[in-house]
Amino acid sequence: MNGELVRACATKAQPGMKVDTKSQYVRDAQYEAFSRILKNHELYCTVCDNNNGNCVVHNTAEHLEIEHQKYEFRPKPYPPDQSHPMYRYEPDQCILCGRCVEACQDLQVNETLTIDWNREVPRVIWDNDVPINESSCVSCGHCVTVCPCNALMEKSMLGEAGFLTAIPPKVLEPMIDITKEIEPGYKQIFAISEIEASMRKTRIKRTKTVCTYCGVGCSFEVWTKDRKILKIEPVAEAPVNGISTCVKGKFGWDFVNSEERLTKPLIRKGEEFVESTWEEALTLIASKLKEMKEKYGPNAMGYIASSKCSNEENFLFQKFVRAIMGTNNVDNCSRYCQSPATAGLLRTVGIGGDSGTIEDIQSSDLIVVIGANPAESHPVLSTRIKRAHKLHGQKLIVADLRKHELAERANLQIHPKPGSDLIWLSAVTKYIVDQGWEDKEFLNKRVAGVEEYIQKLDKFTLEYAEETTGLSKDTIIQIANMIHDAKSVCMLWAMGVTQHKGGTDTSTAISNLLLITGNYGRPGTGAYPLRGHNNVQGACDFGTMPAWMPGYEPVQDPKVREKYENAWGVKLPEEPGLDNHQMVEGIDKGKLKGLYLFGEDMAIVDSNINHVESAFEKLEFFVVQDVFFSKTARFADVVLPAAPSLEKDGTFTNTERRIQRFYKVFEPMGDAKPDWEIFQEIANRLGANWNYKHPSEIMAEAASLATIFAGVSYDRLEQWNTQLWPVAKDGTSTPLLFTDRFGFPDGKARLVPVDWTQPFRPGEDYDIHLNNGRLLEHFHEGNLTYRSKAIASKTPNPWLEVSPELAEERNIKDGSLVRLTSPYGVVEVRALVTDRVEGKELYLTMNNREDIEAVNLLTSSYHDDITHTPNYKEMDVRLEILEEEGEPPLPDTNHRFGNRIPQISVRVEDKWKRQDYTPISEIVEQGGAKYGEGNQAN
């Protein structure tokens, strides 16, 4: 650059810069640099599983026209590390480039990998140099993805990807030796390896898909050979995650080929289920639905949709329910999680979705996380926060009962009393107003109801807040100051807020605080209810809700109904239907006689499941459609085998409101069918006469009817292209909401006064608070992720987190079996003593394997008044010890027992300081190579 030799990777491009990459001088330097790399890497490309046309070392050697190796390859004195069940490290192939370390330290920010530059032969080490499987590694796969060669590889690739790579070592090693001895020059070797690489393309299929393990919406390629999944290959073009993944997205897909998949319809006959043909099952369903509709009326049936299924499937299901079955009794599982957040936002800003995108979150000055554990439940999203916080000075406030990973990293962690978030949020808001720090211009121009709202804040004094939340006045003032000092604030929340009796009101309080401080409508600001399932957002968006047609158009609005009635040629029911909670109540009271449910395990995930299960027993007819024989399916009359996302086409909408396409990888297993095909076949048996051949036709219909999807089309969603609703007719997306107007007719936001709802307390007999939630390794209750042997080996059981104080008081040890009793049921589970929880607060993970471990045996049927979302997070229990000693619920190989080694990047400066390091610029001189000249003089 401008005549100087500089490192391309560390030099910022500037206008007017003169860059030379071709002169002899530069080429000599490149040759020297690359020779040093090849000293650490044996080239046996044709028999290497990474020879798939995208090996960086291979391609660079070829690009630089390297013919021979200047320095001889030297194996490192370390054996390969095969300890981890998902990937291996082969030091002999490691070129010590440090990409894995950088990814681990500064992108994933798990801080496990370093390179020890001080030892004679450096290598990558995990924690304090322990086997990979015993380290703090969270198996996110970042290091494997960025490795430019085969040093870090997915075990699923080894011996599978190449035509010659399954050769046993005793044959392979002499082959490599011979190749090296003969060394005809790398050009010839590359020619052969390229032929082999292109041959691989004929049998390795690469398909874009969208992850189904949380609402973040990571997309990546799936590499498959027949039905075998070779690996998940993230790509830089993926709009949300780029090259990032978490353990579930990277390694959690074994369930697709599980032998326990449902492959044939089942019909209950007496005391058992009997396999049947589709014809028999569909005919039975159609005749039964028809008969019940005639006998009891359309509203005696309930329909539960799936937040794991596609937008098209949800659209078609609600069309089936409304147009064919004539009822609005349709709901999805957002009722269990995020409905209060949606309701709180609809009240205040008029649109019930995230205000912006992951880019706003990573560019914000201050992140406030309330009642959410993104590092486990939204792992890739949390990496962006961790990175911004570590490298770019982003501030972080975490309000949580547990000291989870983000709480540990936070500038300020607060631990309010359970269920008291509304109070401290309102107190902070009041303090800000009292100080005159509110954004007056923003409030004047863009917000309605300001005066009235401020008056209603009177109650939330610092004294009142201190008393009810347990937070000191200083802490509340500190929060207010941090919000005031920040130029932009994003607030993120999840189940810790919504799963309370006052869930909607607390969500409203969050939005109020953002409005008061003007933190809406600008980059880096806004409200972010983090959606738990891959398509919670989409299921709601596409109308599987009792009061809303697709695109949040009210069922009660005659104009909306007219639009759909004209399109579908039927009369639609006028009144909103029952939600999930009301359906269960309806069954209990004998009003609801039948239920059709797909892609949802309500017998585990609903609260107070003893009650739910007794309701299911009363059903006259129950259809369950799923990938596995779920717990809910045990109650069914007909069970239909559905196809998971890898076996169909469709779109999902992530937490950012981003619509993304996924493509079929495999044909459905056995007789399983995509959900939308099943709906169509049932509808047609009831006279619908539908003829959808591909999900794109369903999306086209949705786009023609729902205003916010006007410009959505499969063509615009090809491959990595995505659209964020509202999408204008011309296809323009809206990544950031509210830049000009809020979602009300007058364009103004509303400040809505809210009051605190006391959380439910079961009484004096129950003396310990019970918290619960997800964990990183398992999706929800784990019915998909337990089918991955590797994941199950690292995290085989649920566990109960007990604080050291309580453990000492009650004599509980790691592995003690305890019984928890609430007024609603009993759970038996093994304990883990950890300071992630405090005092008399327990945390029970929800990845239950046995029925007796399910947390929802304990939870109640109380709920948020507005949305009927159960108060999963409000329960106290009694604790008894059943066995004092026992096998700890987590093996030593779980990442929670590792020791992180935080540092910034790979510390290449330490390499440069080594005695044996000679800068390339000293070896290569302008005008030719020094070593050459010296010899010529002879």
Binding site: R268, F616, R634
Partner: protein, 166 residues
């Protein structure tokens, strides 16, 4: 009233039926590719008669052991030379320009003719006569070309020496 049940009666695949289905699928495929199959069978028959199938079968069955032995044979300095020589020879032919090679080859061809004539006739020329041959334009051309050939070889040798010093 529907109690939770977990019992699933799986349709046990009938082995006889499955076999019959598989056989009929194979017969279909055979019928569709009648000519190709008959020809292939003929080839296979002949391979079998001369014992090649047995040999291949044995090789495949013992593939790992056989590969190890074969590689041991290859994994020796003499074999490295053979392979390297083969590569070099291959490179050499690649570098030759066909027109030049043609000129030389036709020269060599004619030379051989003369050469065999001379050998057959057993004629021996006196030194004087040999000296006089230098005036012969054909001999002169040939000697000049030979000298250039030697020069080229010398150039390549000295370049090679320089390269080795690097």
């Amino acid at each position: 009233m529907a109690k939770a049940i977990r019992q699933i009666k799986k349709e046990v695949p009938n082995p006889v039926e499955e076999k019959a289905e598989a056989i009929s699928a194979i017969v279909d495929a055979l019928a569709e590719n009648r000519d190709a199959i008959v020809k292939t069978l003929n080839i296979v028959k002949q391979l079998n008669e001369i014992g090649i199938l047995d040999a291949v079968n044995a090789l495949l069955e013992k593939r790992t052991e056989v590969s190890v032995i074969a590689l041991q044979q290859v994994n020796q300095p003499a074999m490295y030379n053979t392979v390297k020589n083969a590569f070099n020879a291959f490179k050499f032919f690649g570098s030759l320009q066909p027109e030049k090679l043609q000129t030389i080859m036709s020269g060599v061809d004619r030379s051989l003719e003369r050469f065999t004539d001379a050998v057959e006739s057993g004629e021996e020329q006196s030194l004087w006569k040999l000296g006089r041959s230098m005036t012969n334009p054909e001999i002169r051309t040939s000697l000049t070309s030979m000298l250039q050939f030697l020069r080229g070889m010398g150039e390549a040798f000295s370049e090679d020496q320089q390269q080795q010093l690097h």
